[in-house]
């Protein structure tokens, strides 16, 4: 089915192009480093493209790509074996010099536990449904909901303790 293969390739490229920022954000929330996150996104794109024939339902392409992205990010972490948040002036290029009163939500989220970061990013930033998040993270829906609930509580505490103004 040559025609269908070309359609699928085009659809893949379009999906990635439309979501490249989102992909970076999720990868960054896991690996907590700009350069590493960009590498992870690149690896994810290559891996997903080479396994495109395994995707049966093109409508699920975005969630499928994100699933690969999560796995690649975690594999990267294991290889790197360095998990602490790196305080680097190059990290937030666009927010350089801005702290506290103008902190970005992403910065705060990245200070939480990894399991909370993932669900917060996928739910609030990428607006996946609970079901989709469960699939991407390979956990139960109930687990997603309870993590979200706890993550919200932790985020709230963090915002209050930082006198966060948003």
């Amino acid at each position: 089915m040559k025609g269908n293969e070309q359609c699928l390739n085009s659809y893949f490229i379009e999906t990635v192009s439309n979501n490249k920022t989102s992909m970076f954000r999720l990868a960054y929330s896991i690996v907590l480093n700009v350069e590493d996150a960009e590498d992870v996104v690149g690896e994810t794109i290559l891996k997903a493209f080479s396994h495109l024939e395994k995707l049966r339902n093109h409508k699920k392409m975005k969630a499928w790509i994100f699933q690969i992205l999560v796995n690649e990010s975690k594999s990267y972490l294991k290889k790197r074996s360095r998990i602490e948040l790196v305080e680097d002036s190059s990290l937030f290029i666009q927010n350089e010099g801005k702290k506290d009163t103008d902190s970005d939500l992403l910065e705060l989220v990245c200070q939480l536990d990894d399991s909370f970061r993932e669900v917060l990013i996928l739910y609030y930033f990428e607006e996946f449904s609970v079901k989709e998040i469960a699939k991407i993270l390979a956990i139960r829906e109930g687990t997603v909901k309870s993590r979200l609930s706890r993550a919200r509580e932790e985020l709230k505490k963090l915002m209050e303790s930082n006198h966060w103004k948003g």
């Binding site: 089915m1 040559k2 025609g3 269908n4 293969e5 070309q6 359609c7 390739n9 085009s10 490229i13 990635v16 192009s17 490249k20 920022t21 970076f24 954000r25 960054y28 700009v34 350069e35 960009e38 996104v41 690149g42 794109i45 290559l46 493209f49 049966r56 339902n57 093109h58 409508k59 699920k60 990290l91 937030f92 290029i93 666009q94 927010n95 970005d104 939500l105 992403l106 917060l120 609030y124 930033f125 079901k131 699939k135 390979a138 956990i139 139960r140 829906e141 109930g142 909901k145 309870s146 919200r152 985020l155 709230k156 948003g166």
Partner: protein, 405 residues
Amino acid sequence: MNKFDKEIRRLAKQSKCPTSKNYEIKINNLLEDLGNKASGQTTEKAARRPFFKLGIVACALAVICLVSVPVTAQIIDYVKQRMLSMSDNEFEEIADSNDENNITREHDTEAITYSREMTQQEEKRYSELWDKYENEGVFPEGKLQIVDKLEDSENIDSLVYETYNRKLFLPEKELSDEELLEIIDYNYKADYVLQNSDEAKALKEARQKYLSDPYPNATDLSEEEAAAKAAFYLEAMYGLDFTAMDKTIEFVESEQPVSDNYADWEVTFKGADDFKYLIKLSQNTGQISSVQVFKGETFLGEPGEDAEINETLYTSVYEQTKERLENMYPSSEITKGLIAYVKTEDNKAAYGVLDIQFFTKDGYCFYFQYVLKDGIYDFLFTFQHEYDSNLDSSKGDYLVILMDE
């Protein structure tokens, strides 16, 4: 959604992404490379085509046997087909449960609670089976046991869902694959009913109307009904999402009325993948009189060369068709089913066409004609009597094989 939730969403939208200055360029270059590589691969395959084609002709039978919809909807939404195959009773049961528990579309549904945590093994298998459910159409044999209250359950040591408390009671022993699939299946169905209650109600009414009187009187089919019936057919027969397709509808009067067919509604659905489905419905009888499938402007499903035929192949086609019919009309009770073709001197199916007929308990006959080379149903008729095939028997004998009785 509470105030804090809304606030997080608002902040998330405003959030800036800390990418490097070259990130966008890097990704765009990577995508461009992939696009070029894919084009390069296509060119190589085209060069090999003559030899490849010979191979295809030689093993055509094997291909057809394995294929469900070989040309049109290659991407089959198994979940959607599963949801569409839900009986009216099951749909209503879940809808009623949603109503009783005040679960509405806008309500942020509470998590279903579990009587115990799943073990690590169960979690792992649950995830794997979920994937198979979505991507391979692996479904449970049975259904999740559902009770209003646990005390109503006959066997409290088995898997049971209590709607009153939205609690899933897991037996102490390790959950089997079947039980895990039942949980997955119910989750999907509950969500589907929630999302589609209005549309499903409209479709159910259309189905009920059709089933109660599949052979309605003249002028009974309105434009809206024709469009609904055509869409219903596409979904049930090919698993296609007609809502994602462009639709046109035209009223065409016959220049020379044939039998009692004076005019047709011609409903055309056009997909993004260059496939076009032209469904003709008789305005007089309300029946689908033909379904034509095109790729671009090329008509598929044209009877062609005589085709190899064997028991495995025609059984496969029969079972597939039966499944599609049951998908369309879950409440239809098939009492008899047969497959037929014109058998040529060299034991082939003349023109590569098969007839498939089903007779239901309420006295209707559903007649399909299937073109082997493209895997297309050329048309579907419904009659209140047995239908004499229109296949040209000058090429051989019309052979009838009884499949179900």
